[in-house]
Subunit: 490 residues, 2 copies
Amino acid sequence: MRLIVPLRGVIQGRGGLFVGSLIPCCLFYFLQLYLKGRRPPPSDPTELPRTSSRSNLFSRGNSIGRVRVSSRALPVAKPSDSPYYIGLERVKTDPYDRITNTDGIIQLGLAESTLCFDLLQRWMSENLMDSIMQSDAGEFDISNIAMYKPFEGLLELRVAFADFMSRIMGGKVSFDPSNMVITAGGTPAIEVLAFCLADHGNAFLIPTPYYPGFERDIKFRTGVELIPVHCRSSDNFTVTVSALEQAFNQARKRGSKVSGILFSNPSNPVGNILSRETLHDILKFAQEKNIHVISDEIFADSVYGDKEFVSMAEVAYSEEFDKSRVHIIYALSKDLSIPGFRAGVIYSFHEDVVNAAKKLMRFTSVSVPVRRILISLLSDVRFIEEYMTAHRQRIRDKHIRFVEGLKQLGIPCAVSGGGLYCWVDMSSLLTSYSEKGELELFEKLLTVAKINATPGTACYCIEPGWFRCCFTALADEDIPVIMDRIRQLC
Amino acid sequence: MRLIVPLRGVIQGRGGLFVGSLIPCCLFYFLQLYLKGRRPPPSDPTELPRTSSRSNLFSRGNSIGRVRVSSRALPVAKPSDSPYYIGLERVKTDPYDRITNTDGIIQLGLAESTLCFDLLQRWMSENLMDSIMQSDAGEFDISNIAMYKPFEGLLELRVAFADFMSRIMGGKVSFDPSNMVITAGGTPAIEVLAFCLADHGNAFLIPTPYYPGFERDIKFRTGVELIPVHCRSSDNFTVTVSALEQAFNQARKRGSKVSGILFSNPSNPVGNILSRETLHDILKFAQEKNIHVISDEIFADSVYGDKEFVSMAEVAYSEEFDKSRVHIIYALSKDLSIPGFRAGVIYSFHEDVVNAAKKLMRFTSVSVPVRRILISLLSDVRFIEEYMTAHRQRIRDKHIRFVEGLKQLGIPCAVSGGGLYCWVDMSSLLTSYSEKGELELFEKLLTVAKINATPGTACYCIEPGWFRCCFTALADEDIPVIMDRIRQLC
């Protein structure tokens, strides 16, 4: 009990009585002054609970006694001030269409892909009905799709997901369906993981720039903080152990408890692929600090460069590591281009996480008809192989076209190997090299060029002038239109 | 600043220096002793973070440094000790089948209905494909189902839901689609409402007996407490304002902040329908206390008695009330018997709740293919009318058969008018009139009679011997089997 130093003075006869009284008194009165300073002002009378008098009870049309929502819901209800969401909303008001609205805003802000819609359309036309309606007995039985099924996903679906994930990762790693929980998309997968790995007020380290949606995914309900680990263009925005170490130590000094490291691989928004060595270093760092590692791998198959994608699962299977700290997020929204189906996965080596996540699936389970479609789709190996080949080839082609268009304007991109976007260095177009300058350019892109690209500020990038541009929902003929529009700002 | 009384003594020259020092000193030292007493014992060495030494880093097969999940996930990960979930799990190990497993456990624990599966099967066979594949242009377009759509539900679906809800409520109340948020089932609807209406540690009053799932729905993540308002068989378990008042006052004395009242109507598990007067009284009470009202109306169309169902929305529309405190939960799992589709609704008169809930739908949105099916299904007025008529008639018939069977065994049921279950008074079968006796009977029902019925304890009923028995997934020929099995225990 080190704090009671003054009393020791009394015991030791060193005039401690005075000090032993003075210190507590000072603390006591300062505490009162501090608390008084923090006390909220008296409530607005309009917010007082109603009395039971009839005059109040039946008063209408004024705000007396208007009931309030929870304090945690209020910030959620408010419109977002992130340029990421502002841009997405602006597109809705005037969306570009190459036939019906050629002057509308072109969407480069949303990571979705239409590159292989011809293949998906064909598969769905041929198989959708049978996949929902199939049953062991051959004939359609409504009870197969209408009744309650285990919230966490049928075993069949988990097996199909595990096979699919292994396939897109080149068969280098196999996934155990019993470590897997099926979620209604990647978004609830990350939220549920955050809930399971960190308590309210704890934090995850996260390399910047990062996907702007993580803010909502994690902060809205779980109360977990995100501590940025700043990465720089000089390293092509790749995280280093020394940067992690520094952020970890700073957090600890501030009294934050760091529960894990969260990152996406391929990185979103940069598009770079983490090397096996970097993954190894991250896991080694996490082991040293005894924290979790959350690897968001939803772009695992959307790779187009020469660099090999390595899953954190593969590194975790290395003999030396305690795998229980490794958790992987996957979803079909990007690689299979079906975000509307809301299908994702938590893959965790920690038994408690799997058990808790299974129970939490009551809040976010995939409907049974969609499960049936997914089982058929993911199990159709011939189709999946055809899709994967086309998907990678088409991303590569579109990436080349898009980057080449920018290059001709003198606008460079970060080196990337995956993702549905590129990370564009528009700093040459800034009027001032600052966040303010970047946001001015964002606004000019929206209003003058009529393009919605996500500014680095929304991704917590510390270098101004970078923009995420998603290119996989563009037709080839859109690209020259975009370049012409950007040229106006050069 | 009332607390600094001692210093006033100094100013007023009443020897306050001594008192003004003594009190803070006492508080200070007592606080230290208290904190020391509460401090956790030194951590187990097995839980210390690993050091960076290689010997620790690469150790495997022991528990040194095993990473821990969050403290809030641990209770979620553990198996439940509620007889409700225990019963459901036991059925899975040996489910009754009238052809292949006649000696299995008969499920009376799950509120699902197969009564109108013939109608649903016909509708799905004829319309499912078209409903998913339809588009404005006539031809199937994959982008209609595969791409991102607003998480909170398409306007078309909200309009269809609003019409459907109004229809099952006899057209006495109309629902505004802009007050509506579509959720992936009733379960996330109640969770999201709890998050929006109450902060962590706040409470809802809830009349007992209540649906056992509310515990998980509300407590797992939102941290909202449920304060039981005990109802008795003498009132047919109907809540009264005096019971609410008493529970509210007791909660306040204990320092709990009550944020709302949550109840289901028709009541789950009793099946009674709240009268217009009772709803009026509840809303008046809520207005007096300035708290929210959450009315779970997912059994609104599953009514079979003579008593009219009245929605809380209808009462809220009465001139005298501030509607913003009223929130309604609805879902298609019960009335339309499609829990596998995971489709529910939050209907709220509070703008902040609607806005916050829309944003939270990123975690629990309905997939687009299922939205398309639901739009077609709910808009098919001829089918819906046919379904409603058959559904009500068949529940009525099944209820009569089931209750009659029990009556012949001398086992009475509570008076009920809705729901997929009845509330059975098996107190005559208890060996002791206590919770222990009830749980013994639950176990005997499971192991001897091989029937899973949910005991009142799981529903927080204070009178022993009541069981919820769901009868709408039973075939007529199952009922005599059940009665024969129960007879063994009489």
